[in-house]
Symmetry: C2
Subunit: 218 residues, 2 copies
């Protein structure tokens, strides 16, 4: 039975798709329309009580939270496709560290920019210029630290592409696209080279291809 990915039009589920492509795992997608409130249907809430995406089903095993799903597939198919975890416990520690930095430092201000500049006025979000300004300032500081880090190693956790890099793809793609702030990436030499590298991976291009029939704003 192939893996089912509930999403897939939105950014967080794309983390899972790109991981599955890297790991050469077959999957099918189940579209859940957030604007139509399908994530609040009782059947969906049985899978994911918080009403968030993505969720996966692997046989009769159900899992949610995108970064937990990434770790699950990277571990389950450790010796298939791209190694995304790191080879030593120390490397794995750094992958987890930068994956946490993505979740705790990079994502919150970027998510605010996405909500207020891309999704407003959908989902009842009222555009707030103060939030936009503060979020851009916070994200800029994070990107300055990334610039320093990426001047010392090709990828965030070292000289290998990992879950830590992969997890940045969907929301950064919004940042340089519909959010209209590509300069935040392009003006930083090493961040820009890193972005060009990871966003041109065949796995990411394939993910975009799979999702192009869905419009997250429709």
């Amino acid at each position: 039975m192939v893996v089912k990915v509930y999403g897939p039009a939105y950014a967080s589920p794309k983390r899972v798709l790109v991981c599955l492509v890297e790991k050469e795992v077959e999957f099918e997608t189940v579209h859940v329309n957030l604007l139509a409130g399908e994530n609040q249907n009782p059947d969906f809430l049985k899978l994911q009580p918080f009403g968030s995406l993505p969720v996966i089903q692997d046989g009769d095993y159900t899992l949610f939270e995108s970064r937990a799903i990434l770790r699950y597939f990277a571990e389950k198919y450790k010796y298939q496709g791209t190694d995304l975890l790191g080879k030593t416990i120390e490397d794995q520690g750094l992958v987890n560290q930068w994956l946490e930095v993505e979740a705790q430092n990079y994502h919150p201000p970027l998510n605010n920019l996405v909500l207020h500049l891309m999704f407003s006025p959908n989902f009842g979000i009222v555009r707030d210029e103060k939030v936009i300004k503060e979020s851009e300032e916070k994200l800029a500081k994070v990107l300055d630290i990334y610039e320093d880090r990426l001047s010392k190693s090709k990828y965030l956790a070292g000289d290998f592409f990992s879950l830590a890099d992969l997890s940045h793809l969907p929301f950064t793609s919004y940042l340089v696209g519909p959010v209209g702030k590509a300069y935040m990436i392009k003006d930083r030499k090493h961040v820009s080279a890193w972005w060009d590298d990871i966003s041109s991976r065949p796995s990411w291009l394939k993910t975009l291809e799979i999702c192009k029939k869905y419009n997250p704003l429709a």
Copy 2:
């Protein structure tokens, strides 16, 4: 060489201490005074560029982000002390899922309550009643989902204590103590039993004992 934990007076470093006690790993603590701005010293920023706590040094290996550190020690000492990861890949997936729920759903509103009710007016935080009200409502919804989950299994990821439960200890301890909202836990039967269980573990009592000489507000 014993493990060094930079912190340790604050909540996030206590996650690391309780993990090290559970894993029977020897450590020493290095106090970093946030109110005195020691986390912005150039030497500290070399260890942790974001100026956050905790950081650990294990020989010449440095790691930051509390949940990444938990995973590192739980994996490195897999067969020593309490197993905190789960025995199968499926159980590990659920541990990671609930650890992400703690980070993404439980922690943000709880952290707001801690900042506005416990740390205001320290760190220049201005108490905001609207933030307090909204955060309590959000946390209550999360705790309702926990109540349902903990009516079905003794711990969050299943019938075993894991990193997912452990990660809740320091901030929930603030919630039932100085934040003054113990009723949010006590009024929910299964959450209350779970809290009594995990907060009476010798590892947590030892962590509190180690930290009692430090006052995070001084």
